[in-house]
Structures are given as C-alpha cells and as structure tokens.
Symmetry: C2
Subunit: 201 residues, 2 copies
Amino acid sequence: MSEEIETEQQILEAAKQIFQERGFAGARMQEIADEADINKSMLHYYFRSKDKLFQKVFQDSIRQFFPEILKVLHADLALTPKIEKLVETYYEMFRKHPHLPRFVIHEMNQHPDRFKEFVKNMGFEIPETFVKQIRQEIESDSMLNIDPREFIINTIGLCVFPLIARPMIETVFKMNNEQYQQFLEQRKKELPKFILNAVKK
Amino acid sequence: MSEEIETEQQILEAAKQIFQERGFAGARMQEIADEADINKSMLHYYFRSKDKLFQKVFQDSIRQFFPEILKVLHADLALTPKIEKLVETYYEMFRKHPHLPRFVIHEMNQHPDRFKEFVKNMGFEIPETFVKQIRQEIESDSMLNIDPREFIINTIGLCVFPLIARPMIETVFKMNNEQYQQFLEQRKKELPKFILNAVKK
DNA sequence: GTCTATATAACGATAGAC
DNA sequence: GTCTATCGTTATATAGAC
C-alpha cells in the first residue's frame, strides 16, 4: 500500500531528526513518535526495535553525505574549483542537516567496529583519481609535497569544525545567530584560498 | 576527613572517564560506581544527582583544557613556535584524554545556552595579545590578510578533527591502531608547516 | 495497519540500618 | 560515611482488540 510506505517514510524522517539532534542514547521513542505524529507502537511495528530504527537512520545518514563528497573528489575538475566545490557542498549539506556532522562523529565513536564494517561493506573509498591528481600537482612543482591523506583530512576538518563547534565560536567571539551565519558566509569564500595557499609552493 | 576527599576524587575520576566516553545520556550511574569501585548510593551522597555530577565533570573538563590553550595563545612567542607549541599541546592533551574533544563538542551542542553562560562566567576569552600579534604580522606584510577569528578556528579545527574522526580515518585509509598513532606523529610535525604556509604571503 | 493497555526491565534516587 | 534494600519513574517492547 502507498499508506504503508508513507508511514514508514514519516517515521524515518522523524527518527532522523530526533536521532541526529540527541544521539542514540538521548533519543526517546516517544519523542520520535510525537515528531512523526503517529502512535508509539507503530515504530516497533515498522522497525521492531530502537536499535534497528537507529541503524537504519545512521546508515542512511552516511549514505546520504559520503558519496556526495566522494563524487566531488572524483570530479573532473582542476584543484582550485574542486576545493571550492567541496567547501560549497559541505556548507549546503549543513544548511539542510545542521546536526549531521556531529551526529556521525559522535555515533561512529560509540561503535567504531560496527561503523568500520559498514563503511567497508559499502565500499566507500577515496577516489584514486583524486590521489593521483594531488601527486601530479606535487610532481609538476605547483604544490608542496604533502601526504594526500593529510590534505584530505585537513580540508574536511576545516569544513566541518566551525559547524560542530558553533556554541563555542558564538560564545568566544560574541556572535548571535545572525552574526554566526554571516561568519559562515564569509568563511565559505575565504576557506578555499586558505586551503590552496597552504599547499602552494 | 582525608577519606572523604579521596572518595570524592575517586568518584570524579570515574565519572570523568564514563561521561567523556559515553556522554551524559549514554552514561549509567551504576557503571560510574563500578569504575570507581564504590557503592552506587555513594554517588548520590556526594553529588546528589546524575545531573549535578555531570555538571561538575563537564565544567572541570573545560576548566582543564581551555585555559591551557589560551595560555599558549597568550605566550610571549613568535608565531611559528607558538603554533608548534599549540599543536603539541593539543596532541599531548589527547594522549591523556582521548575522548575529551568529542565529549565537549557533543555536550555543548546538547545544552548550548547552559554552556555559553558557563564560558561567559568563567571569563574565557581569546587573548587580545594574540589578536594583536596576528594583526601585526599582517601589517608588516609577512602574513596574508586573514580574519584573526578564522585563523584561530582553522588552527584548532586542524588539531581537533583528526582526533574526533579517528574511526573514519582508520577505515578510509585502512589503518590499524599503530598506523593511526604513527600518522598522528607524522602529522604533529607537518601540521604547523601547513598552517603557517596557509597564511604566508 | 492502528490503537489502548500493559508487561518487563532499567534507571535514578532515597530510606534506614549499621 | 557506607552498605542493602527498595521506591517511583520512565523506557523499550509486546499483547490483543478493532
């Protein structure tokens, strides 16, 4: 039935919101039911247990953002526009799912082995094309000799950190919501320059 | 009594470990008691409630690492050794308290207002001396014109991210524990160069 | 499929003996 | 100050009527 799929989808959206905001341990099945505007027992009817529902949400969350990032890394673009595109992609994702980065970071550390097996099974890997691109830049003397792994981690870290550290940033730099958003806008423009300059010879 | 203080300290150490590892919602009073090797009811005798015990641990955690970072920023050092010292400080802290950065990030986002008020009350602020140092470097044309806030956030983000993203890094780059530690060692040397080069004219 | 009612277990917290 | 026993609540999960 179409009703069935609709209810299931409704539950998943609500669960995604609550789990991403509060984490597995902090989330309540009742709160998810309220958010989905359905009866609590329906959660068990469709997903059997809190853990199974969580697994689905967690794995969907990773499937949602990981391939998108890898796609940008693999794209047929020069380094500069590629980094710009990557930063843009991260900030767009954050706009749509503000709790996603912190959620994944917290939960993958709670069950690292489970997480690792999932990522391995999904076959998520850094595109070899991107590693080659970095190596080529280095060989052609247009880039400092940096470990490609370091470069990737640095780039993603620079994208993610200001998003998960929001309360700290707002406090230390005395920003309100609006000023923080404005800060992110400015940062979106400046960050690619920072990254590229860091590896420029 | 000395016994009293000792027990209290024992509880705090156990609570710190469990809370930092599992977060507030994921932590169990029984597990803290087991870790401290005392009776569960003692936790309430000394700290009344789970929330009060957590507040103490959370605030102590911040008081433990925040001033240390600010001290380095304020130190009378040239920019290069200061960044080296900052990176060193972060990695040393992580060696002692592997869950601390993720713990603070997760919990401050769960209760941002409570967090903000605490930081404000503690009077934690970015040393004006450091901001001046950045401005001076820019004015003397030895540094690109970067917003000092961006520079601080970038530096700290680059220190923290590889620590909180450990399971992801280990999986994507196919590292075991030993290789990850080795990667961090290499990174400790390379990171200051990356940061300084990013703002070099 | 969806609801109400309830089982069952876990958790934070307290009472009271020592 | 420390222990055992237990209260009261809340959480996940299920049974059973419709």
